[in-house]
């Protein structure tokens, strides 16, 4: 097995600190540490640093329990809360949206629409043009009719996030979404991994990875797959850009005796230098 370098050993020590060391790496690391005082000192320093971080944070906050009165208040409020009430709101929203849309359509479009399908084959029935999907006319709740509420959907980046032309790092960055700002997504990919936005600076449509974003529906955090498609549509990703092959370096070096330079610093260039036998000679010095 190839011996570890100091840099590799120190990276393994960092991995070990995070509990990410592979089983085989432990033996390799121990073997190197046994014979390397420099890395052993690094390991010891890292150990002390971690102990100091831990003790410092514990000294700062201790291990306090929630104060008893606050705990009681929490218990009481928790018992008054109906688990899953957030989802209940979502279902209400799902019901309210189509009803509100239907009502708005009826109010704003009083003239019957002409069917786009061939009219000759269908009996002319004016009532059929705006018929609801079911024959039973259900009364629309007046609250929904008077105050249809529009859902608000925002994404909040937990860190500064690149907004790219498409759904991978192969696409160019066209804008940036900043930490803790609210951005309104325009759509999402079928894999629920990328959201499309209008770039806040460039104004162009761009995609950001959802791993860095919190999705808030009416100010409640939700998982992206739980957001109904009626609120956030699925959009197609742009085609992955083809990366042009890196041009091969032109490996035709110009001989020193024809490169226009004083390579040996004697004040004579190329064939002026007596050491050059001909323009293909690659040594100006002798």
């Amino acid at each position: 097995m190839k011996p570890l370098t100091h840099a590799q050993t120190q990276e393994l020590l960092q991995l070990a600190a995070d509990g990410l060391l592979q089983p085989g790496q432990r033996a390799q690391l121990d073997a190197h540490l046994a014979g390397c005082p420099e890395c052993a000192a690094y390991a010891s320093e890292l150990d002390s640093l971690q102990q100091l971080i831990t003790s410092s944070l514990h000294e700062r906050w201790g291990q306090p329990d929630m104060p008893a009165d606050a705990g009681r208040r929490l218990q009481e409020q928790a018992l008054r809360t109906r688990p899953g009430a957030g989802i209940g709101k979502l279902w209400l929203l799902l019901l309210a949206l189509p009803l509100a849309a239907l009502l708005a359509w009826q109010l704003l479009a009083p003239t019957p629409l002409t069917p786009s399908a061939p009219t000759e084959t269908q009996p002319a029935s004016p009532s059929a043009t705006v018929a609801p999907p079911t024959a039973t006319p259900s009364p629309i709740p007046s609250a929904t009719a008077t105050a249809p509420f529009a859902p608000t959907l925002f994404a909040v980046p937990a860190q500064t996030t690149n907004c790219r032309e498409g759904n991978s790092s192969q696409f160019d960055i066209v804008d940036t979404l900043y930490t803790d700002e609210r951005y309104e997504p325009l759509g999402r990919g079928r894999d629920e991994l990328w959201l499309q936005f209008r770039g806040p600076v460039s104004g162009v449509r761009c995609w950001a990875y959802v791993g860095n974003l919190s999705v808030l529906l009416n100010d409640d955090e939700v998982q992206l797959p739980d957001v109904p498609e009626s609120i956030l549509p699925y959009l197609a990703y742009p085609a992955t850009p083809t990366i042009p092959p890196t041009p091969e370096p032109t490996a035709t070096p110009v001989p020193q005796c024809s490169d226009g330079l004083d390579n040996d610093g004697d004040g004579y260039i190329d064939m002026q230098d007596r050491e050059c036998s001909d323009p293909t000679d690659n040594n100006e010095a002798n």
Binding site: T54, M66, L74, R82, G86, A158, E221, V222
Partner: protein
């Protein structure tokens, strides 16, 4: 938290909800305290986060532990509180660290050398930016694994490791820097 208790909570069983609160309230309070560094704010954030979690309980798919899921909700609540705090009192917040420092330096115990190092380390941690400070707090105060940190912060495992490594290098360098002039003076 076992699946059966969670199922009972989802069904609204008061006993199950009570045991859920009892089991998690103190850890959640400590989590909020470690983000907000203020016990009163932490109480509010704990309450708000727990109620938000109960309301969203049907969204919890048990892909991560309940505690991790709860922490990720609380992190969002705490971030909201921090934003409000910044907006409300920029000037007051600016004078607070000075006030706190004065109060601490008047405590004779703080003068002890062990305290001094620990205090210097806290100062260095509090100066880290959020993306490096949070993994440090989650790892060394809450003793979460890197996988759990990744789930709470919604980032991948490699990013957690890289942020922790950078934070440790930074903290080590700051500490060496802080110790240098004192040694020369002695």
């Amino acid at each position: 938290m076992d699946a059966q208790t969670l199922a009972r909570c989802k069904a609204g069983d008061p006993q199950a909800i009570e045991s859920l609160v009892l089991e998690h309230k103190d850890r959640l309070f400590r989590f909020c305290l470690s983000i907000l560094d203020d016990p009163a704010d932490a109480e509010d954030a704990t309450q708000e986060s727990f109620i938000a979690a109960l309301k969203a309980l049907k969204n919890y798919r048990q892909e991560s532990s309940f505690q991790t899921w709860l922490f990720s909700i609380a992190l969002n609540t705490c971030r909201g509180q921090l934003r409000q705090r910044t907006r409300r009192a920029r000037l007051a917040a600016a004078s607070q660290p000075l006030h706190r420092q004065q109060a601490e330096s008047s405590n004779p115990e703080r003068a002890a050398i062990a305290h001094e190092h620990s205090h210097a380390m806290w100062q260095a941690i509090s100066r880290l930016d959020e993306k490096h400070r949070l993994p440090v707090i989650l790892r060394y105060y809450h003793e979460l694994s890197t996988q759990e940190i990744a789930e709470v912060l919604g980032i991948n495992l490699g990013t957690v490791h890289s942020r922790l490594s950078i934070a440790r290098q930074h903290l080590g360098a700051e500490l060496r820097q802080a110790n240098r002039p004192k040694r020369a003076a002695r």
